[in-house]
Amino acid sequence: MNNKAEIDNAINKFVGKKGILIPLLQTIQNIESYLSLEVMRYVAEKTGTKLAHIYGVATFYTMFRLKPQGKHIIRVCQGTACHVSGAKTIMSEIMDQLKLSADQDTTNDGLFTVMPVACLGCCSLAPVIMVDDQTHGKLTPDSIKNILKKYK
């Protein structure tokens, strides 16, 4: 937990309102980049919520990350349109380019984390990936190298 003051601010902002747990965890994840057990314990203590409940929510939703993440997040769309347009080869090209093994999602230098996602909703541009907030569409395996270069 590196940003205690910011986390305290976030908790104070939300505490006392109803249905706050998910937005609170989202805010904290934006600050810390992931939810460590230490952070979840801290939130449980501060808000009087059971740790089991917090952990349950954090593991239920795909958005919450329980491990440290790379500087840039690459979301690789696995939607139907992307699937029939070759999302698989795009994924394997990204893994190759970043020298990631099958059970690894973050590069050793901590620059990139690769994440398969359900659908980015840009189906007419399939196959699609999203690097941070920027969407790239109509991809071919050859176009991956140039896109990644921009972030290195």
Partner: protein, 589 residues
């Protein structure tokens, strides 16, 4: 003469480079001192030719250009000004005779009435297009029950997929006795291959907000939530802007339009769980819990969010409301068919030429949607199937293309209307693979509460995987059908109840393909890698060694400038050699 230049800046436009086109347009106008108003708008639906730019003269004559780039935008503008528009980029025009394309001609736009036309971040643009007039009519001139009756008269059915009567749903919430009620907009568009709600929220957020305020007034709710996927950052941004603007103008907050009616609206970002599209799971998620469905009854109209009566509709449903109130339910019912009145927005994707967002009257045959509005196949390969309704839907073959789009006709085929995703496939798609794809999705997204959904889908996925690897047997097909029946019967919510649909429909319409995988060990589409064999055509191979370099397991050997050979024992069938060969010398069978 006055000129307006509109640039489409929705997510898909931005991904195609519309942001750069917008900057280049501003720069060009400034440097050439052209007197034109440059406006931002969102998606007009023709995503296949993004980025799109529309130039309008005197508010009347207009040309929409597609495939615009920062490099050619200057020429496009200059030539328009000279009266000699660049022809090859024209998509729609009311100046050049005969150039209006079928994509637009056959559509009837009610939900998308403002999308791609107005600036979604300007409430004034919305107001100029009859915005919030329906709200004014509702709270000032209409009784609450009259509004509900008008919606009933329109015959509007829930556009989230199930097709339940919206008027009835509102009536149930209206009848519930409680001083506190909620209204919720389901904008958790999780179906892979669907982007209707995203486009509406990005392109016309006020229409959804107005529909919600009218609904809240009608049922007697004073607080509402829009539950929107966090994967749609632009939609959330536009919604936030729109809510602030509506507050400023007095359409939200206390004593709306001096009627004494109060309504407060919040946005909740989803955190990525497909099951939260189910209404009871969605409410659990708003309450900050794991999004797991609960048994109905009690229905949300009796006991929903925080145990108060709650009405939930989807984005497209709400976007219809203001139009119905303003034009009358009778006029709405004239669109579409008797049992499914109105229009439906579809997201066309896959191997279709005009992929994008369309709105057609209910009752249009699928053939017309795909070939006339959608422009037919993109790849030159023949049509094989169309997938409707995402993971809850099914795949329909060419023989069923005369099926018309309405809730009941599509249900009869075994697919569902769903929220409106339509993914078109050609012969390069394998139906066993598609069934496996969807099962993998639902299996991942199952919340785990019901045993059949949790374990049954897992077993089905294992069987499908086995078949796709050529290790299946014919009994597996019966097991799949049996399991499907039990999963449908033994699941609490729509996710489990519909999860087998992709398997059942492909088994029904493409059974031969399953059999070919099992008995002949063949995947005719060339997708199931375990059944493929890569061989080097000795006559075509020139020995460039590129395949040997690319092969990750180094199983290709041969001397330079002589035909190479693949060691079939070592080959992992990744296809890297096939993709790399520039001489078409590798056969995939």
């Amino acid at each position: 003469m006055s000129f307006t230049i509109k640039v489409g800046l929705a997510s898909c436009g931005l991904a195609a480079g519309a942001g750069e086109v917008y900057e280049a347009t501003l720069k060009h106008i400034k440097s050439k001192k052209i007197d034109a108003d440059v406006k931002k708008t969102a998606c007009i639906g023709m995503c296949f030719v993004e980025p799109l730019v529309e130039i309008i003269q005197d508010g009347k004559k207009s040309i929409t250009y597609g495939n615009v780039t920062p490099e050619n935008i200057g020429t496009v503008i200059d030539s328009y000004m000279k009266g000699k528009p660049v022809l090859e980029n024209i998509i729609i025009s009311n100046i050049e005779k005969g150039s209006e394309n079928d994509t637009m001609k056959k559509q009837e736009r009610i939900v998308l009435r403002n999308c791609g036309n107005i600036n979604p971040t300007s409430i004034n643009d919305y107001l100029e297009n009859k915005g919030y007039q329906a709200l004014e009519k509702s709270v000032i001139k209409m009784k609450r029950i009259d509004i509900i009756n008008e919606i009933k008269k329109s015959g509007l059915r829930g556009r989230g997929g199930a097709g339940f009567s919206t008027g009835l749903k509102w009536q149930f919430a209206y009848d519930a006795k409680s001083i506190k009620k909620y209204i919720v907009c389901n904008a958790d568009e999780g179906d892979p291959g669907a982007f209707m709600d995203r486009s509406v929220l990005e392109g016309d957020p006020h229409s959804v907000i107005e529909g919600m305020i009218i609904g809240a007034y009608a049922i007697g709710a004073d607080e509402g939530y829009i539950y929107c996927r966090a994967e749609y950052p632009l939609a959330i941004k536009h919604l936030n802007i729109a809510i602030e603007q509506a507050k400023e103008k007095g359409f939200l907050g206390n004593n709306i339009l001096d009627s004494g009616f109060n309504f407060e609206l919040h946005i909740k970002e989803g955190a990525g769980a497909f099951v939260c599209g189910e209404e009871t799971a969605l409410m659990a998620s708003i309450e900050g819990k794991r999004g797991m469905p609960t048994i109905r009854p009690p229905f949300p109209a009796q006991s929903g969010l925080w145990e108060k009566p709650t009405n939930i509709n989807n984005v497209e449903t709400f976007a219809n409301v203001a139009w119905i109130i303003l034009n009358g339910g009778g006029k709405y019912a004239k669109h579409g068919t008797e049992k499914s009145p109105g229009t439906k927005v579809f997201a066309l994707a896959g191997k279709i030429k005009n992929s994008g967002l369309i709105e057609v009257p209910m009752g249009m045959p699928l053939k017309e949607v795909i070939y006339d509005v959608g422009g037919g196949m993109k790849t030159g390969k023949p049509f094989k199937g169309v997938q409707l309704g995402g993971p809850s839907g099914g795949c329909l073959p060419a023989e069923l293309l005369d099926t018309v789009v309405d809730y009941d006709s599509i249900n009869k085929t075994g697919a569902i209307m769903g929220s409106g995703g339509m993914v078109v496939m050609d012969t390069s798609s394998c139906m066993v693979d598609i069934a496996k794809f969807f099962l993998n999705f639902t299996q991942n997204e199952s919340c785990g509460k019901c045993t059949f959904c949790r374990i049954g889908t897992k077993r089905m996925l294992e069987i499908l995987t086995r078949i796709s690897e050529g290790k299946g047997n014919l009994e597996d097909l019966d097991t799949l059908e049996n399991l499907s029946k039990n999963i449908i019967a033994g699941s609490l919510c729509g996710l489990g109840q519909t999860a087998p649909n992709p398997v059942l429909t492909t088994l029904k319409y493409f059974r031969d393909e399953y059999i070919a995988h099992i008995t002949d060990k063949k995947c005719s589409a060339g997708v199931c890698s375990a059944l493929l064999k890569y061989e080097i055509n000795k006559e075509k191979c020139i020995g460039c060694t590129l395949c040997a370099v690319k092969c990750p397991v180094k199983c290709i050997s041969g001397e330079r400038k002589k035909a190479h050979e693949i060691d079939q024992e070592a080959c992992i069938k990744c296809g890297a050699c096939y993709d790399a060969c520039k001489f078409d010398a590798i056969d995939k069978r």
